[in-house]
Amino acid sequence: MTSPCKILMVDHLVAGYEPSAPIVNGVSIAAERGEIVAILGPNGAGKSTLVKAIAGLVPVAAGHIRLDGEDITTRPAHTLVRGGLAFVPQTENVFATLSVADNLKLASQALAAPQRAGRIKDVYDIFPDLARQQRLPAGRLSGGQRQMLAVARALIVSPKVLLLDEPSAGLSPKALDELFRKLLEISGSGVGVVLVEQNVRAALAVADRLYVLVEGRNRLEGRKHELTADPGLAALYLGGGNGRAAAARTVQ
């Protein structure tokens, strides 16, 4: 049974580029409307592969993905956005040779023609900086502005769920702060936000719930206040390796 408030349910997902060597091995996660869910874990934990599989970019070998109760496991990637699932990849997440306006117009093509102009205007209202740079090729934006454009592009379709793969990567603290404030606004409007993060401190600042993956499997999950009080989080998050001490400090 699908819980009515769970907008995204991923159930025992097995996924990877090669069927014989799955990177995600039976991961289950869920997100509610208006909730920010962070997926944490050490390098190689399968976090990015998980969100790419949800977005239809990595083949799924077993398990199910349900969006608002509908099984989308085998749906082609390009049809998911119309169903309400928007994805912001970690890198190359805007079309650098297209203008800011063309990036948004491109995304609006998933909507019915009469809705497009109005929705682009709505998104410009949320991101006024982008409105001022409509004609600029996206490749000439700063890293922070690009990330904003990528999120704006994803919001054009009024998604039910917004997936982000390491949105903090390469951003200055100021740009990161602004981006995460926008994510809080977006989740506040009822969108389920699922973000993969290496930056634990940043993720803890905005997330309502956390999942920790290790070696392609669920290791830990719970509400933020439960997990941050758990002394085992640092060790679980790290899974061993050189960065143990540094990450332990980050979590504390």
Binding site: T79, L106, Q109, A110, V157
Partner: protein, 302 residues
């Protein structure tokens, strides 16, 4: 020195340009050099010849020359139908040959397969139509003096106009329409294009269709000035690639300018050096661009 080479070069350059636009589109969206593109030119011309004959036989009046042009309505109508058929030939070739290779991620295999497809398509023309030369028009045209010692025939003026319309329409499609925006997006980042909701398979089919249709237009233009032969498209392949690379792979205006430059360079060579050096010109242009400006005139570094 006569300036006639300007007119001759412009007409030859238009033929090259329309073919080069198809090459540049296919390369930028599918990321491989399609050596079968020359055969689309031959097939387009032969299909036009076949259909023009059929339409002319059905309605003799349609075959009467459209004054001042050397061809009748039958060739015009056949050309339009053949553009659609050649476009579909491109879509079919992709479906049976290139799409399975793309799924395996074998782009070098696609290049080699395009050589094989070229040979098969050319052999099929010889089988179906024989190697005997054919003609779209046997009318003699009087060239009109337009000043500065330059003479052009009405057919040549029409060919330049057709090129301008085709390239202008394609540039407009790519720049100002949703499908053009989708094609530019797929060209830059196919994975992200899927994420934003673009049906990449549909864009690829459309690319093949447009490339094939423009190759047909190029073939008809070629067929109006030279004999129709099975190797007519293959002979044009080097100038096509020289033009596409000179213009900057992926740039439609670049392919047009590149085609015109190659055409003019060939015409100058014929006038100043000798016709036997014509073929070498495209090769020299190609080497020169690759050495001096590998991204071409309007290309962007990868």
């Amino acid at each position: 020195m006569s300036l006639q080479f300007l007119a001759d070069g412009l007409v030859g350059g238009c033929t090259v340009a329309l073919g080069a636009v198809g090459i540049t589109l296919t390369y930028s969206i599918l990321r491989f050099a399609n050596f079968a593109h020359g055969e689309f030119i031959s097939w387009g011309c032969y299909l036009t010849w076949l259909l023009a004959g059929a339409i002319g036989a059905w309605s003799i009046a349609s075959a009467a020359a459209l004054d001042p042009l050397s061809v009748g309505w039958n060739v015009v109508l056949a050309g339009v139908l053949a553009m659609a058929l050649t476009g579909l030939l491109g879509v079919a070739l992709d479906a049976v040959l290139f799409r399975p290779l793309r799924k395996r991620g074998a782009s070098i295999a696609a290049v080699m397969a395009s050589f094989g497809a070229a040979m098969a398509l050319r052999a099929l023309i010889e089988l179906l139509f024989s190697s005997r030369p054919a003609y779209l028009s046997r009318e003699l045209q009087i060239a009109i003096p337009i000043g500065a010692g330059i003479r052009v025939t009405p057919d040549q003026i029409a060919l330049i106009a057709i090129t301008a319309v085709c390239v202008g329409a394609l540039h407009g499609l790519l720049s100002y329409t949703g499908i053009g925006r989708s094609m530019r997006a797929v060209s830059e980042n196919p994975a992200l294009a899927r994420v934003v909701g673009i049906d990449v398979a549909r864009v690829i089919r459309l690319t093949w269709f447009i490339g094939g249709a423009l190759a047909c237009a190029s073939g008809v233009m070629l067929g109006l000035v030279v004999q129709i032969r099975p190797s007519m498209g293959a002979d044009l392949l080097l100038p096509l690639f020289a033009a596409a690379i000179l213009g900057g792979v992926g740039s439609v205006p670049g392919a047009l300018i590149g085609g015109l430059i190659v055409g003019l360079a060939e015409a100058v060579t014929v006038q100043l050096v000798g016709a036997e050096w014509r073929t070498a010109v495209a090769f020299l242009v190609l080497i020169g661009v690759l050495l001096l400006r590998p991204t071409g005139l309007f290309g962007q570094a990868a």
